[in-house]
């Protein structure tokens, strides 16, 4: 087969590596060193190769000794440092989990013997090619690159598949790597390790060298194994035992030839190379030692020896021996460097695997999603959910669409998919007690068939989540949470229940997706919905915060009179599988305008209903939000109560939620804008607070914002300034509730 290297075509053979083919074609050089630009050539025939680095296709830094030839392969030499470029062709990287009784790493004689000995399910991983073995799962061309707690091995198969192998026992038969020797110009092309020289067929013009063998102890070290210096081998070998990891074969040092005597050679030390990947020489080690460094870890950092892609595979022990010689100590006294995963470089693309593109992260959608798409909704990400942000009509910009949707809810009736709200079923004789302890307000006094707004704080008294609590029975509640916090709130409740109050007889269940829910909101909500349901919707029969069971458009439903806009509103909950049918029937009834999260945000902000995570940031108490009323004065204890008595949480100058009205009613403040009293004082300008929400309001006929402002409630009426990039915007602080502060619209259009 044909292949090319550095623009020259050569003849290759099936099953040959690129390095072998180059050497057989008489190419002993062809590479350059990374820092000194010295000529280099193939030095080894294994994964320890320091010189023969190539770019092959999209692989920016491959070892020619590991690249198998294919027809038409094109390789370019790389001087030490690869350059990552956008892939020219899509390559599939994936991952695989496996479990086995025995994992053997390395298929040399010791590894094959260990695998053949059996002991249950056996996996044999070999870096190169490997003949099949009866009853053994063989993974050839597979590099085990990491060993982790619990006998977890991470391996790379053919550079394309990441294996996570959980084994009861691991046998390391990783063998040993030949060491170079030291002499002047020991880096020149043609100098190669003696074993490679033999296996390459004693190429003409090449010079074999051998300084003995170094056991490949990296995985043993990663597993937590100790080492001891072996004078006969002239290198560290595994010492002691590990519970589930054992070494076999020459990695133990046994069977390796005696190391030749070691001495510093004569010659120019700046041309006696210790680490070919870093162009580091005996002179560099001498400088490090002269600077007072004695530990090999320090010598490594000073000289960069062992920090190249090969991580000291051929240079580590050599550097230790040189330093010991210069210091006049035994090499065993200098210690060893730490071996960390990965043993061989792993491409990021492999670690990403299939978690990219459409599979990068789950996209969660509600049962009504398809219809939102049909309606042309523009979506926004809320956690992993896609929620309709607004529904533009043809030619309509976002601002116009949102103003139209807001106006529909304020003046007529709108409908919104609110299925993403977290929903937790709380049941048991002590359910009310649990909720009393977790919410800041009293839940136990809630009558069956009614619901109540509730706030949860962390132990530090800061708002954690809010939602509506429904009492469905004496011992049965349903708590809603914010969309993004559903899992966190359930975990929070379980934590208290399981670790602090196991005596409470309460059981929790996530029912978020059991229900699809549609909010019908606006002064005409009653007139719109009444013809579609047998549930009496008039104010006397169905008061604010009441719950009714019945049918809506023929579907069994739970209807709740809750409002996140200040308007008369009903939430209709049905079995999630019938959500789409409900929405279509409501649409079909005509007259209700679909509205998205952006309109919802504007409407709730006009009423100063905070959004946890937008108007709060983990440093905000219910009192800061102006919601003293939601913090019970009667309850003996609830999570966060103690913190409300801390001096810091009752300071008068805490940041408090207020409304902000820019002087220019068309000026939309950016969310996050800082607010200051006087923009003209020299820096540092004291900050008063920041804008948390900012919108255009159809109902107010102007822009407005919510902000957390130091002592804000006491500053209502004051003018503050928002210094923006190119101008300073004056604005007046106002009471937070800008729309219908008397709450007259809650029951419908005021008379």
């Amino acid at each position: 087969m044909r292949f090319s290297f550095a623009g020259v075509e050569y003849e290759g053979r099936e099953g040959e590596t690129l390095a072998a083919a180059l050497v057989r074609n008489g190419v002993l050089g062809g590479f350059r060193s990374p820092y000194r630009d010295r000529p280099r050539g193939v030095f080894s025939d294994g994964e320890e190769e320091p010189n023969a680095l190539v770019r092959v296709g999209d692989e920016p830094l491959a070892r020619a000794t590991l690249v198998e030839l294919e027809e038409g392969l094109v390789a370019e030499p790389v001087a030490g440092k690869g350059r990552l470029e956008p892939p020219r062709r899509e390559r599939r990287y994936d991952s695989m989990h496996a479990h086995c009784d025995v994992l053997v790493v390395g298929a040399g004689p010791a590894g094959r013997a260990a695998a053949a000995a059996g002991g249950g399910d056996v996996i044999l991983a070999e870096l190169g090619r490997c003949a099949p073995l009866d009853g053994v799962r063989v993974l050839e061309r597979t590099a085990v690159v990491g060993l982790y707690d619990g006998n977890l091995a991470v391996a790379v198969e053919r550079g394309r598949r990441l294996w996570r192998i959980r084994a009861r026992r691991i046998v390391l038969a990783t063998g040993a790597v030949e060491r170079p020797t030291l002499f002047e110009d020991n880096d020149r092309p043609g100098v190669m390790l003696a074993g490679a020289f033999k296996r390459y067929g004693r190429p003409a013009g090449a010079t074999p060298v051998s300084g003995g063998f170094t056991p490949r102890v990296q995985l043993w070290r990663q597993a937590g194994g100790r080492l001891r210096w072996d004078d006969r081998v002239g290198a560290p070998v595994p010492d002691g035992e590990l519970r589930a990891v054992a070494c076999a074969g020459s990695v133990t040092g046994e069977g390796l030839p005696d190391a030749p005597p070691f001495a510093l050679p004569d010659g120019e030390e700046g041309r006696i190379f210790v680490d070919l990947e870093r162009d580091a020489t005996v002179a560099d080690v001498r400088r490090a030692v002269a600077a007072g460094l004695r530990s090999v870890e320090h010598v490594k950092r000073y000289t960069t020896i062992g920090t190249g892609p090969g991580q000291g595979r051929t240079s580590g022990v050599l550097a230790t021996r040189v330093a010991a010689e210069l210091l006049g100590v035994h090499p065993g006294e200098l210690g060893t460097t730490t071996a960390r995963p990965p043993y061989l470089p792993v491409p990021f693309a492999l670690l990403a695997g299939r978690n990219r593109g459409p599979l990068f992260d789950p996209v969660r959608v509600t049962p009504l999603h398809e219809r939102h798409v049909e309606l042309g909704a523009v979506f926004e990400d809320v956690g992993q959910w896609k929620r309709p942000r607004y529904y533009p009509r043809s030619g309509e910009e976002m601002d116009a669409a949102v103003l139209r949707e807001c106006a529909a809810v304020r003046e007529r009736v709108g409908m919104q998919d609110v299925s993403t709200l977290g929903k937790i079923d709380v049941q048991g004789p002590d359910a009310a007690e649990l909720l009393d302890r977790l919410y800041t307000n009293l839940i136990s006094t809630l009558p069956v068939g009614m619901c109540r707004y509730g706030v949860m704080c962390r132990a530090d008294g800061m708002v954690f989540d809010d939602g509506v609590v429904m009492r469905l029975g004496e011992g049965r509640f349903l708590c809603t949470t914010t969309t993004g916090n559903a899992a966190a709130v359930l975990a929070w409740m379980e934590e208290w229940l399981q670790t602090e109050w196991p005596e409470l007889r309460v059981w929790l269940a996530s029912v978020t997706e059991q229900w699809a829910a549609v909010a019908v909101a606006g002064p005409d909500a009653r007139e719109f919905l009444q013809p579609l349901t047998g549930v009496a919707l008039d104010a006397a029969s169905f008061p604010f915060m009441a719950i009714r069971e019945g049918e809506v458009v023929g579907i069994p439903a739970r209807v709740c009179r809750v409002s996140f806009s200040g308007e008369l509103a009903f939430e209709v909950w049905v079995d999630g599988r019938r959500g789409h049918e409900l929405w279509r029937a409501l649409e079909g009834a005509g007259g209700a305008t679909p509205y998205g999260t952006e309109a919802m945000h504007v409407l709730r902000a006009e009423k100063a209903y905070p959004i946890v995570g937008q108007d709060t940031d983990g440093t905000v108490t219910p009192q800061d939000l102006g919601m003293d009323w939601v913090v019970s004065k009667k309850k003996g204890h609830f999570v966060g109560k103690r913190s409300f008595d801390r001096p810091d949480t009752s300071r008068a100058d805490r940041k408090q939620l207020v409304a902000v009205l820019p002087a220019d009613p068309d000026e939309l403040l950016p969310e996050g804008a800082q607010l200051v009293a006087d923009p003209d004082v020299p820096p540092p300008v004291p900050m008063l607070g920041h804008v948390t929400s900012s919108y255009r309001s159809a109902a107010l006929g102007r822009t407005f914002a919510l902000a957390l402002v130091r002592g804000g409630r006491g500053r209502v009426g004051e003018t503050v300034h928002a210094p923006l990039e190119d101008r300073v915007v004056p604005a007046v602080l106002a009471e937070p509730v800008l729309y219908d502060p008397e709450g007259r619209r809650r029951d419908g259009r005021p008379a």
Binding site: R92, D94, S95, M96, H97, A98, H99, D121, R164, R166, R354, N355, P358, L359, D361, P362, V363, R364, V365, T366, P367, W385, D425, Q427, G428, R505, W507, A509, S510, V511, T512, E513, Q514, W515, A516, D575, G576, R577
Partner: protein, 142 residues
């Protein structure tokens, strides 16, 4: 080659408290359509809340999970691409179940037969899990 399909399940109920007759007691096992999820927690496929009125707690979760089934002699290999559990037939044979992660979503796995593994997943995650499984089937085929 593994085949993915959705299994229609009309009703599901989560039962908490004391075990009832025919409920499995061994962790991570099933008895018929009753799956052990915890020491006091079972999921009854086909069960309805009203049938368990005398349990400590029964919650209708009929719409809370979609049931997918992956069948074929390489079904386990498909799943192993994104699930760290030991799925070998000796460890996860017929009648075994587990709550775990598959790729980036939670799922309940239930081994319904020698070469059939069911995945119970939240409906909102189902499109993702389907797409992931179809991609993984493709990965095994290569």
């Amino acid at each position: 080659m593994a085949v993915l399909r959705e299994v229609p399940v009309e009703a599901q109920v989560l039962v908490r408290g004391e075990p009832r007759p025919r409920f499995p007691l061994e962790p991570n096992t099933s008895a018929g359509d009753v799956l052990w999820l915890g020491p006091d927690e079972w999921l009854v496929l086909g069960g309805r809340e009203a049938e368990y009125a005398d349990a400590a707690v029964a919650v209708d979760v009929s719409a809370a999970r979609v049931v997918l089934e992956l069948a074929g002699d390489d079904a386990r290999e498909v799943l192993a691409q994104g699930c760290s559990l030991d799925l070998r037939s000796g460890s996860f044979g017929p009648g075994r179940c587990a709550q775990t992660l598959v790729a980036r979503t939670e799922a309940i796995l239930h081994c319904a037969g020698d070469d059939a593994i069911r995945l119970l997943v939240r409906p909102s995650f189902a499109p993702y899990l389907r797409a992931w499984l179809e991609d993984a089937i493709d990965g095994v085929r290569r």
